[in-house]
């Protein structure tokens, strides 16, 4: 039985909205276990979101349209990004319209507006957060593109569906040196982009050390809920992007029902595993000094470049 690709697309977006908070909850849960604490329920992120949605919005007197518009934009962009990454199947309605370069730009748009919103209300923390976020972005984005190019050389396309299909059929794709370098670069960049330790600390209350949190410090109510939700989706999206590019096995190449069901099972297994790996990184490392991030992301760029070079020289 074949499922129409429009239905697959809808399922994927629904999955994105539901699985992103679940994944965040899972990461928190494992983190608590690692620290010997009692973990909150897996559904806690949903409760937090529900709480925020039911609260009133408090707006700064001098907030402009940018401040009010940004949460919706960031949320919309995240949903759109979820529609073009092959999560369950490579046969997606939107896969032909947007390739991986568009994906990177989508994240860039969201970041651009968040940084503007951070500066919009004119508080010291917003400006500080925006300045730090843009510093990181200017280093992370080139590295991200290079890593993606290295993968698309192996996948012979910049279309995500195409890349995923080629790599999953290639069998021994992961044994290529270019893919190993690209994966290393991708992990470093994903940590920086999603604001995890050792680059940023999503759980901190120390406002002076914040990067991403400093920009959104003035948000409240449904605005904050949308931004928080988008943040969870970003973590989920980077994870599924990594899975699609480096570990695509299990993602269905056609729209058969059993294959899709299998893809779903594989997805949850992989998410569970990635969550644990993320917690290992986050608990084992302390947050680095902010000026060290240049070295951190510089090495990501280096790995990505090595990946591309080794493709031409070794493969």
């Amino acid at each position: 039985m074949t499922i129409p690709s429009s239905l697959i697309e809808t399922t994927q977006v629904a999955l994105l909205l539901a699985a992103a908070p679940l994944f965040t909850g899972w990461v928190k849960m494992v983190k608590c276990w690692m620290q010997g604490r009692t973990a909150p329920s897996l559904l806690q992120p949903f409760r937090d979101l529900a709480k925020l949605f039911s609260k009133d919005v408090v707006l700064a007197e001098n907030a402009s349209w940018i401040f009010r518009f940004t949460p919706y934009l960031v949320f919309g962009v995240s949903v759109l990004a979820g529609a073009i990454i092959p999560v369950l199947s490579t046969d997606l309605l939107l896969s032909a319209t947007a390739d991986v370069i568009v994906l990177v730009s989508l994240f860039a748009i969201a970041r651009f507006f968040t940084a503007l919103a951070g500066m919009d209300i004119g508080t010291a923390f917003g400006g500080m957060g925006s300045s730090r976020e843009m510093t990181i972005a200017s280093l992370a984005e080139p590295g991200m593109l290079m890593a993606v190019f290295a993968v698309s050389l192996v996948g012979k396309s910049t279309s995500l569906s195409q890349m995923t299909a080629v790599i999953s059929q290639g069998g021994h794709a992961m044994l290529r040196p270019s893919m190993v370098f690209a994966l290393l670069a991708f992990i470093l960049i994903a940590l920086a982009e999603t604001g995890r330790i050792p680059v940023d600390n999503p759980a901190t209350h120390l406002e002076l050390t914040m990067i991403h949190e400093a920009m959104i410090l003035e948000y409240s109510g449904r605005h904050l809920a949308l931004i928080e939700w988008a943040g969870m989706m970003k973590l989920y999206l980077f994870t599924v992007l990594g899975i699609a590019a480096f570990f695509p096995w299990g993602i269905s190449l056609n729209n058969d029902l059993p294959a899709i069901a299998g893809a779903l099972v594989f997805l949850f297994l992989k998410l569970g595993f990635v969550g644990m790996a993320l917690v290992l990184i986050e608990t084992g490392l302390a947050k680095m000094r902010i000026f060290r991030i240049t070295e951190f992301l510089g090495s990501a760029f280096l790995f990505a470049t090595l990946g591309m070079m080794s493709f031409f020289m070794l493969e």
Partner: protein
Amino acid sequence: MNPALKESRSRREFRNEVYLEYGAADFHDVCCSLVKDHRALLRLMFGTDERLRDGSFRIYAVFSIPGQDRFLIPVLQLGDKESSFPSITSEVPAAQWYEREISDMFGLSPEGHPDTRRLVFHEAFPAGSHPLRKDWSITDEEKAVWGEGRKINVPHPFMEVAGEGIVQIPVGPVHAGVIEPGHFRFSAIGETIFFLEPRLFYTHKGTEKHFESFGFSDGVRLAERVSGTDSFSHGVAYCMAVERMMGIEITEKAAAVRTLGMELERLYNHIGDIGFLCAGTALAVGYAKGAVIREELQCLNERLTGSRYLRGVNAVGGVTTDMLEHADDLLRTLDSVTVEYKSMMKLLLSSVSHVERLENTGKLSRDIAARLGVTGVAARASGLADDVRKSHPHLLYDRMIFEAHTLEKGDVLARMLIRGEEAECSISMVHELLESSYRGGLTVAVKRPEAYASALGYVESPRGSLFYWVMSDKEGKPFRVKLRTPSYCNWPAVPFAVHGNIVPDFPLCNKSFNLSYSGCDR
């Protein structure tokens, strides 16, 4: 050996306190010469309103000279018409806050002080109102205005740093976490901190004035609540001052219980602080481990005394409970704590990313620490061997085996290592205390103090040296209680430690000092 000082108008010796009364010019010269020529430490400085007694204000400056167990206390007598005294801040920077506070509380302005702004009172507090004067009163209208905090009676301009690329970052007094209030005004160039001016005293509660409305025996309950994690130290220092003033000696047993309490307090504070540093570097496992061990120790406190903060143990004349009876529980808990603590330190020191954040961060130079009169862990991490337990032995510390560890570097890591070494010292001291038995009951009878008797009480609290000075009135009630917390000495050093660091490292520097806002503001 006594330092050669100018001839005083009158001289009074009481235990290890030497009071020397001077006129204005001599007072200034004596204080400066003590610091310059004899390397004396300014321990505390305060005013009293003794107009009811002999028509004069007095300013006391308590110094201790390294290597001697005695306090030299030059006293400045001022007539009731005088409104100023010569400032010693230019020569003795450690006096800067004391002099401004005397100005706030008594309306005696320090002549020649480089900073004439008010210290304790914020803008809304009425001008010309000096609460520690005995004839002070306040109208209901004025009270209503304080609460609002909006009306500006006396402006408080912040120090401005001008220049291209310099950004002002105002932080607080309300913070993102559940912590006490304090305002920090950073002048930063990009991320680098060029200048920091803290604004404190948001939690000023008029504690010293409040003591005057208690009896001496009840005052201990207020003293225990000045600063939560130093509760026991405050209790001991207050009781010690009152007991010395009354002329009573506590029993050996009471002294042993107090020594035990002091070390238990030091232990849970130091281990907790080492864990808290990990919150600054986002090392979650270290933070969790520190919190677990601290909790075990605080549960032990509760089993021993009924209070997690060891409150209610101290009383004037001795102690209320014999903690030494619970030797088994103490030893059992300490053994498990020792194992966990060692594994935590091993984990922290082997984490390269953690140590890398602490090293060379928030350096406080020995010179600045000495000049500002920094005390406790911060002083010892910067190479100053200052420990009241050693320099002015009290309780049972003269017969205990321990070291006042010092390190030279003065960075966050040095402060953490000093805490670690002192925590291990405290564990071994508790073991040592439990080995012997002690004579005497828990309390001795309280005496009525003589009229206008005064005395010092002092301990080395987990944060550093803590001083109380009490004076009785004609009826034997409290006339003046001065308390000087270690946080009060160390806050002015924080801006020097963070200079040249980056803004996101400020919480880490601040945590490594771990100063109490409540204790500083009183």
